[in-house]
Every structure is written in C-alpha cells, then in structure tokens.
C-alpha cells in the first residue's frame, strides 16, 4: 500500500497507472473483499489521511462534505442533523459504531452497492459530487452517477473529493426507514428515504429514493410525479403505490424476495404519506 503525501501526489499515481491502484480509505468494504480474494487489485493507494478530502464546510447555499467524512462525523454534525436529518439517520443505521468510525461517504458512493444506506438520503437531497483527477475537477449530480450494478461514472484516474448538499429542504418533512433483520449490522431488505414540501394541504414538491429494490439505488421519479401537486387522499396514495410497484425492480436474493420488497416498499410509501398527513 502506498501513502501519497497529499491529494495531488495521489492523483499523479492514478494518472500514471489508471486502474492499477485501488484507493483505500477506512477499509470497511475493501478489507472484506480483499480477504475473500475478490479484489483483483494488487496495489492500494491510502487516501485515509489526505486532508483535502476531509472536513464539513458550511456556506449560505450549501453544506459540503469531504469524501472522507465518516458516518460518525455525519452523526456528530450539528448542521447535518438540523438540515439533513435523513443522512444522519442513514449513518446511524449503517453497520455499528465500529463501522461508523471507519466507513466514509466517499467509500460508500464509490462502492456503489444498491443496498447502501446513505445514497437514498443523498439522492433525496439532490447531492452533487466533485470528482478530481490530475487533469482537473468536475461536479456531477449524484442522480445519474450510477451507471449499472455496482458501477458509477467515476473514471479510473479520478477520486471523489467532495459531496455538496444544497440547503433548500430545511422546511420540508423528512422520512427514512431501513427494513432489515436487525436494528444494526444489517444489510437492508428495503430502504426508503423521502422528503416533501407541503403547501396549503398539497404536496408542493416531493423526492423519494429507494435502496435494495433495483440494481442501483434509485429516485422514484414517476412515483414523485403522481404525488406532486396533489392533495393526499387514499386514492392518490394507491395510485402512487401502483406506480412505485412498476418503477422498482426488486429481485429474490438471500436477504429477501421480490414480492416482499415490492409490498414493503409500498408500505413504506404509505407510512411516509401518513406522516405527511399527520
């Protein structure tokens, strides 16, 4: 494992031999893969101590998190618990205290598991990612960053540097529920994150994201369209649930079945709407 002294040294390495070096931060995903013989990489680039990837910055329009922000960092952030509670909920339900001390948001995003807990919250908050390489940097919306099962638009010579959250949802109602076999140390069977702005008894705007029901974490944009602008009635909810059932693509696997996931996703949507009506 090589330890670059700073971000530009790390990016130089990635530029010289793209694909040969695996960026390694807290190791909570990579060590499992390494020990199982499932990591093809032979060389690891230790980015855990790079200061350019740490820190939480607050400006009037955004809260911006370094890619190395751990779940523990998220949970202890006052601004995040006030304005982005779904992200704090996700962090609190990820693994355990020991995992949360080492796992990072950047690692979670790069690992791109469809069962990850934080991505639904990040999608609801319209997160953007800063991707850096030796050639420069670019900002991309997180929505659309996934290109397939465990695949993202991250190029071989790039690192995720920062995650930016627009401060536009403070007055919204927020909902997060992860369904798993245990309260901790569980990979979700279904996970739903949502937020809505209510105006004169109508859903003025809404964002819904789900994990573990498709090859990627997804924004249920068609379901959102059904609800947007509507008053919450049993009929509206039923219509939204029907669209949701078609919009997701759950499978049978060792944790659950497609039928269970579809039904529970609809139940979580109902619970979200119930919360909005209360």
């Amino acid at each position: 494992m090589e330890m670059p002294r700073d971000l530009s040294a790390a990016l130089e390495r990635l530029a010289q031999e793209p694909g040969a070096w695996k960026p390694f931060a807290g190791g909570t995903d990579l060590m499992v893969l390494l020990e199982a013989g499932k990591l093809p990489h032979r060389r690891f680039l230790r980015i855990w101590k790079l200061p350019e990837l740490r820190g939480i910055e607050v400006t009037p329009e955004h809260v911006t998190l370094g890619a190395l922000t751990t779940y523990t960092d998220v949970r202890s952030s006052e601004v995040l618990s006030r304005e982005f509670p779904l992200l704090c909920r996700a962090a609190a339900e990820t693994g355990s205290v020991a995992t949360q001390n080492r796992g990072t948001l950047g690692g979670n995003i790069a690992n791109a598991s469809p069962a990850a807990d934080s991505p639904p919250a990040l999608l609801v908050y319209d997160a953007e990612l800063e991707l850096v390489s030796a050639n420069g940097s670019r900002w991309v919306p997180y929505h659309g960053f996934w290109t397939g099962y465990k695949q993202t638009g991250l190029r071989a010579n790039e690192l995720i540097r920062r995650i930016r959250l627009p401060r536009t949802t403070q007055s919204w109602r927020h909902y997060y529920r992860k369904v798993g076999t245990r309260r901790a140390q569980a990979i979700s069977k279904v996970c739903l994150a949502a937020a809505a702005r209510i105006d004169a008894m109508r859903i003025a705007d809404v964002r819904i994201a789900l994990g573990s029901v498709a090859p990627t974490v997804l924004r249920a944009t068609e379901t959102e369209n059904i609800l947007r602008g509507e008053k919450l009635t049993p009929a509206t909810l039923r219509a939204a649930q029907e669209v949701l059932a078609r919009e997701i693509a759950p499978i049978d696997d060792m944790r659950s079945t497609a039928r269970y996931r579809r039904r529970v996703a609809q139940n979580l949507l109902a619970e979200f709407c119930e919360m909005l009506s209360a």
């Binding site: 190791g27 909570t28 499992v32 690891f44 205290v97 001390n101 080492r102 140390q185």
Partner: protein
C-alpha cells in the same frame, strides 16, 4: 512498495514485512507485519494479545473490536499499515495496572459488573463486548438503556441472549456513579 500478488482463495500478502510503530495498551511497540495483514492477526500473533477474538472476519460481529486512537473499530478490517503512529487499546489494556507490586490489576467497573452479573457464557464475544461498553461509557458516562443497546449493537452474542450483558453494563454505570467501583452495585 512490494506489489506482486498471486490470486488465491485467501488474499495473499505482499512479500515484504514492514515495521509499524504504535502504542499498545500504553507501551510503545514495533510490529513486524505485512502491510495489508489484518491488525487482528498481528495483535494476536506478535505481542501475543489473544484477548481480541475473530468471530466473523467481516466486521459484522464485533468480537475483534479494539480502540484505535480512542475510536472503537473492528480490527479484522484494519490493515496493519494503518496502525502506524496509532494508540491502540485491547481488552488486555482495560483493567488498570495496580501500582502495588505483584498485585492483580484493578478491574474496570464494566469487567467487575460482568463477573458479578453473569454477563459472559462462552466468553468469545466478551472482550469485544467489554471494549464496546468501555468505549461507550468513556463517551457517554450516563447512557440510557437505549443508548447502551445502541452502543453494543455491533457486538453479537450467541449464548446469553444479551439480557445479562445489558444488565451488567447498567450495573457498571450505577457503580461508577457511586464510589468505590468495586462495591456491590445497588439494584
């Protein structure tokens, strides 16, 4: 840096060991380890600190929990190289060294409570469980029962059904607020 690796069912290590300087239970130590070796294995094999256990090897059971720079971590997921410059506490470092020569170490309130209240059966989860409890109490000396459950949620036990473990931690919290720590805690 050595970079030749052969693919194998269990990931092989690079061919050259490095020296990793760290502090373990208050003492400076230099570990000789392959950079990507699990800290769990290095701690057990080198300084012979076998109190830290392997339960799952995947960071899901907490049996391998240690403190790394004050943070509770699963040592099966920490490559040895990342222990460089770190302060490590294992279960062997939880009891306070007794200043009297040849006297037994003074047990932490959590350890005493586990003994008094039957918080262990087979004992394999116990070192990690105690580390997690001690780490919790260091951060939050008066946790609620919900906070105790949450703080220990990363530690799985197959024997006790958890009830006596939580009772032990509750007792340790009470004992810590009513001195001395080795007195029989009030129920």
């Amino acid at each position: 840096m050595p970079d030749s690796r052969e693919p194998a069912a269990r990931a092989p290590n690079p061919t050259r060991k490095i020296g990793v300087q760290c502090e373990i239970n208050g003492r400076p130590v230099t570990l000789e380890a392959y950079p990507m070796a699990r800290l769990l294995d290095v701690l057990r094999e080198q300084p012979g600190l076998t109190g830290t256990k392997e339960g799952c090897g995947e960071g899901e059971c907490g049996a391998c929990a240690i403190e790394l720079d004050g943070a509770l971590v699963n040592s099966c997921l920490v490559p040895a190289l990342q222990a460089e410059g770190a302060k490590i506490r294992t279960i062997e470092g939880v009891a306070a060294q007794n200043l009297l020569h040849n006297a037994a170490p003074q047990l932490h309130a959590v350890q005493q409570a586990f003994l008094t209240h039957g918080g262990a059966q087979c004992g394999i989860c116990t070192p990690g469980m105690i580390l997690a409890a001690v780490n919790l109490l260091d951060r939050n000396p008066q946790p609620s029962e919900a906070e105790i459950r949450e703080g220990l949620a990363g530690n799985l036990c197959r024997c006790t059904g958890y009830t006596k473990i939580f009772e032990s931690v509750v007792a340790a919290v009470r004992a810590s607020t009513t001195q001395p720590p080795h007195a029989e805690p009030r129920r």
